[in-house]
C-alpha cells in the first residue's frame, strides 16, 4: 500500500504537487502548523473535496497517498 521508501512511522502524501512525508496520525491542522500557515488564510482541497469548514481541519486525519491542494488569494486582475 505505502511506498517502500517511506520511513517508519511516516506516511507519504502529495501536497501542492510535491511529495511530502509526515508523521503518521497527523491531522490537517498539524500539517498547517508545521508549514507555518494560518488556516484562516488558506483554502484546502483534500482528495478532490474542498473543505468549507475550517473547524474541521483538526479532525481531518491524513493518510498515505492523500492529495492536498493548499491555495490562497494572490494578486490578479
Amino acid at each position: 500500500m505505502m511506498g517502500t521508501a517511506v520511513a517508519v512511522g511516516k506516511v507519504a502524501l502529495t501536497v501542492n504537487g510535491g511529495r511530502r512525508e509526515i508523521p503518521d496520525g497527523w491531522s490537517l491542522a498539524d500539517l498547517l502548523t508545521s508549514l507555518d500557515l494560518d488556516p484562516r488564510l488558506v483554502v484546502i482541497e483534500h482528495n478532490d473535496i474542498i473543505l468549507r469548514d475550517r473547524d474541521s481541519f483538526a479532525r481531518v486525519f491524513l493518510a498515505a497517498n492523500d492529495t492536498l491542494e493548499i491555495v490562497h488569494f494572490v494578486g490578479g486582475g
Binding site: 483554502v43 488569494f73 490578479g76 486582475g77
Partner: protein, 277 residues
C-alpha cells in the same frame, strides 16, 4: 485612516444619481481594480486607495510551500474594507474554472466570481462556449457570476440568460492597453442587456476609461492600466477621475456631431459692419 481615504473617494460619483448595483448590492465606485503586477504590495494598496475602488479582484493559486513568507493577498487587503472578487484567471476549461470558483468561495468572503474561461494563450480571448457552460453551473450553485467575455452581443445575451449577474465584455485583449476597439459593440451590449455591463480589460490610460464610460456602461474593471503605469498611484487617481468624468458626460448627453463649424459667438455687432436696420 487608510480606509477613510477609500470612503472619501465616493465624491468621484457624487453627481451620479444612479447607484451602482450588481445583484442587489450597491457599490461605492464604478471603477473596479485588479491586484496583479505591482512591484510592491505597499504600492498596490496605495494605488487601490487612490483609485477609490471598492471591488478588488484576486486570483486563486497554490501556496508556495518552500517560501513560507510568500504572503497571500489577505495579509495586505482588509476584507472588511474591500469587496474581494476572486477570478478564475488562467483557467482554460469550464471544469477548471468551476473548481477555482468553488475554492474561492470556500475562502468564506462571498459567493461572487469573476469568471474567466480562456480560449487562446496568445490573445487570452475567452472561450465563450466553456464560459457559458461554467456560468450555468455556477449560477445554479448560487454563485454571483460576473462573466468576462468578448464584445459579442449574442454571447452577452446568452450569458445573461444563463444567470450571470453582470457581463464583462473586453475593451481589447487583457493587458494590451489598446483601449476600446469596438465602441459600437460595447454600446449595443449595454443597450440590450438588463444586467450591468462592466467593461473589463484593455483600458490603457485615462482617456480610454473616459471613452468607455461615455458609452453608458455601468463600470470598468482594470489592472494593468494602473499597475504598469510608471506611477501607478497617480494613474489610479487619473482613472478615478476619468471614470467619474466619462460617467457624467454620458449622463449629461453629448452634443450632436456636425461636419461643419457652428460659431459660438454672435455674428452680429461686428466692427465696421453697416448699422443694422
Amino acid at each position: 485612516m487608510a480606509h477613510a481615504d477609500v470612503l472619501s473617494h465616493e465624491s468621484a460619483t457624487q453627481d451620479d444619481p444612479q447607484p451602482f448595483v450588481i445583484a442587489g448590492r450597491e457599490f461605492r465606485s464604478r471603477l473596479m481594480v485588479g491586484t496583479g503586477k505591482y512591484d510592491s504590495n505597499a504600492r498596490m494598496i496605495e494605488a487601490i486607495e487612490a483609485s477609490g475602488a471598492e471591488v478588488v479582484t484576486v486570483a486563486v493559486r497554490r501556496v508556495d510551500l518552500d517560501r513560507s513568507k510568500d504572503e497571500g493577498m489577505l495579509h495586505h487587503l482588509d476584507p472588511d474594507h474591500f469587496f474581494l472578487l476572486a477570478n478564475t484567471a488562467g483557467c482554460y476549461t469550464a471544469a477548471e474554472a468551476i473548481r477555482y470558483a468553488r475554492l474561492a468561495r470556500a475562502a468564506g468572503f462571498n459567493e461572487w466570481v469573476k469568471l474567466e474561461v480562456i480560449g487562446d494563450q496568445q490573445t487570452l480571448l475567452p472561450d465563450t462556449f466553456g464560459l457559458l457552460q461554467a456560468t450555468k453551473t455556477l449560477a445554479d450553485e448560487g454563485f454571483k457570476v460576473l462573466a468576462y467575455t468578448n464584445d459579442d452581443l449574442i454571447t452577452a445575451l446568452k450569458l445573461e440568460e444563463a444567470g450571470a449577474v453582470a457581463v464583462m465584455p473586453l475593451a481589447s485583449p487583457i493587458g494590451s492597453g489598446l483601449g476600446m476597439l469596438n465602441p459600437y459593440a460595447i454600446r449595443t451590449i449595454k443597450q440590450r442587456l438588463t444586467v450591468p455591463v462592466i467593461v473589463d480589460a484593455g483600458v490603457g490610460t485615462a482617456s480610454d476609461a473616459c471613452i468607455v464610460m461615455e458609452q453608458g456602461v455601468d463600470g470598468i474593471l482594470m489592472n494593468t492600466g494602473i499597475a504598469a503605469a510608471s506611477d501607478p498611484v497617480r494613474m489610479a487617481t487619473a482613472m478615478r477621475h476619468a471614470v467619474g468624468a466619462g460617467r457624467l458626460a454620458y449622463l449629461a448627453g453629448r452634443m450632436p456631431r456636425r461636419e461643419v463649424a457652428v460659431p459660438s459667438c454672435p455674428l452680429t455687432g461686428m466692427l465696421g459692419a453697416p448699422r443694422e436696420r
